[in-house]
Symmetry: C2
Subunit: 204 residues, 2 copies
DNA sequence: AATAAATTTAACTATTTGGTTAAATTTTGA
DNA sequence: TCAAAATTTAACCAAATAGTTAAATTTATT
C-alpha cells in the first residue's frame, strides 16, 4: 500500500530533519543536508513538505511534545513526594540523555521566535497548573517547606535541563573533555538531583 | 587623533555586533543588520573586520569573558560559605539580568561548534579548579555536606543560568506572559537560589 | 593649505540556498 | 496489464548574502 511506503518516507524525512534541525537550528540547517540525511533528493523533500518553514514547524511541535511530555504519565498521584520527585527527575534525565540536542535547540529557537513558541504552547495545551497544584498541596499538608511552587518546579527543571543543554561546555571544563566521564556524571544525576532537592525542601 | 575616533567606531561595531549576534546567532545574523545597528555602512564594517567569522570570534570571546568573569572578583576568601554562595548567586544573577541574551547565545553556539569553544576556553584560561578546591575545603572542614564539588557548582550554575536562558518560555508558561512578573521572579531569585542551596548542603 | 585617514556611495561579483519544473523511471495497487 | 503514485534526474530560477572595489567625500592632522 502507498500508505506504508509514504509513512516510511515521511518518517525518514522527519527523522532526518530532526537530526539536522536540532543540531544546527533553523538558520543553520540546509534542505540539501536534510535530503541527504534522509537518503532522498531535494525534489522529493519538497514534494512531501512544501517549504523549510513547514518542515521546521512540524519538527518543532514534535520536539516540543517530547520535551514537555504528558507529566501524568510518569507521576503517580498516590506516591509520596519523595517518590514523585525521584521518578520525575530520573525519567526526565533519561529522556534528555537520549536526546541531548533537544534542550539547546529549544532554547535557541524560542529566543529566535518567541511568538511562534507562544502559539505552539497554546495549540499544544501545555499547562503546568496541575503540577503546581500538586506541589502546593504537598506544602499545605506540611510534607515540604512552604514556597512559591513555581520556584520549586523551575529549580527542578533547571537542575535537570541545564547540565544537558550545556553539555559540551561542562564536558570540557569539568570532565577533561572525556565524554564517558561526563555521561557517568549525568547518569549519577538521575539520583543526585532528587537527593539535592529533597534535602532542601523536606520538612524534617 | 585617529585613535580615539577609531576606537569609537570599533566600539560601535562591537556593540552592534554583540546585539545582533547574541539575539540571532552566527547563522541568523546579517552583516547588513550589524552595519545598520552600528549606524555605518557595510563597506566600513568590512574595513574594520575582514569577515563575519572574524567579527563573530571577537564577539564570542568577549561574551565568553563576560559570562565567565573573574570569579575571584566577587568571592572573598575569608567570608563564610553562606556569604560566598549568597554573593556569588546575587552577582551572577545581576550580570545575567543585564545581559539576558547571553546564556542562550552561548549554549546555541557551543553546540554548533564545540571545537571553537574548546579553543576559546584554552586561550581564555577558564579554570574552575580554584572554585572546586574551595568547595572541597569547606566540605573537609565540615561546614557543608560531602559531595562531588563539581556537582555542587553545576547545581549552582544551573539554578542561576537556566531561568534566564529559558526566559521566554518561563514567562509564557508560569507568568502569564507578563515581563514584569517574570522579572520580579528573577529579582527574588537573587536571594532564593542561595537559600535553596544552603538548605540542601549546610550541615546543621 | 596640504596630506592622510576615515567614511560613504553605489555598483558589482560570486556563492549559497530555497524552491521549481518537467521529463524519465520505478514502484505499487487494481 | 494498466494507471496512478512515488521517486529520480538534472537543469533551472530568484533571492539573499558575504565580500569587493573604486571613486567621491568628509574629517582630522600637520
Amino acid at each position: 500500500m502507498e500508505e506504508i511506503r509514504k509513512d516510511n518516507t515521511e518518517e525518514k524525512i522527519l527523522e532526518a530533519a530532526r537530526t539536522v534541525f536540532t543540531k544546527k537550528g533553523m538558520d543553520g540547517a540546509r534542505m540539501q543536508e536534510i535530503a541527504d540525511e534522509a537518503g532522498i533528493n531535494k525534489a522529493l523533500l519538497h514534494y512531501y513538505f512544501r517549504s523549510k518553514q513547514k518542515l521546521f514547524e512540524a519538527i518543532f511541535s514534535h520536539v516540543f511534545k517530547q520535551i514537555f511530555p504528558d507529566i501524568r504519565s510518569f507521576i503517580q498521584a498516590q506516591k509520596p513526594i519523595e517518590e514523585k520527585i525521584k521518578i520525575f527527575s530520573a525519567r526526565y534525565m533519561e529522556l534528555l540523555m537520549l536526546n541531548p540536542y533537544l534542550p539547546a535547540f529549544l532554547l535557541r529557537e524560542l529566543q529566535r521566535d518567541p511568538e511562534f513558541l507562544a502559539s505552539v504552547i497554546k495549540s499544544q495545551g501545555v499547562n503546568p497548573g496541575e503540577l503546581l497544584t500538586m506541589l502546593k498541596a504537598e506544602m499545605g499538608s506540611g510534607q515540604i517547606k512552604n514556597m512559591d511552587p513555581r520556584e520549586l518546579l523551575i529549580n527542578l527543571l533547571s537542575l535537570i535541563i541545564f547540565p544537558v543543554a550545556a553539555g559540551p561546555l561542562l564536558q570540557i571544563m569539568f570532565f577533561g573533555d572525556d565524554p564517558d566521564a561526563y555521561n557517568e556524571f549525568l547518569t549519577r544525576r538521575k539520583e543526585t538531583i532528587a537527593t539535592f532537592i529533597l534535602h532542601s525542601i523536606l520538612v524534617k
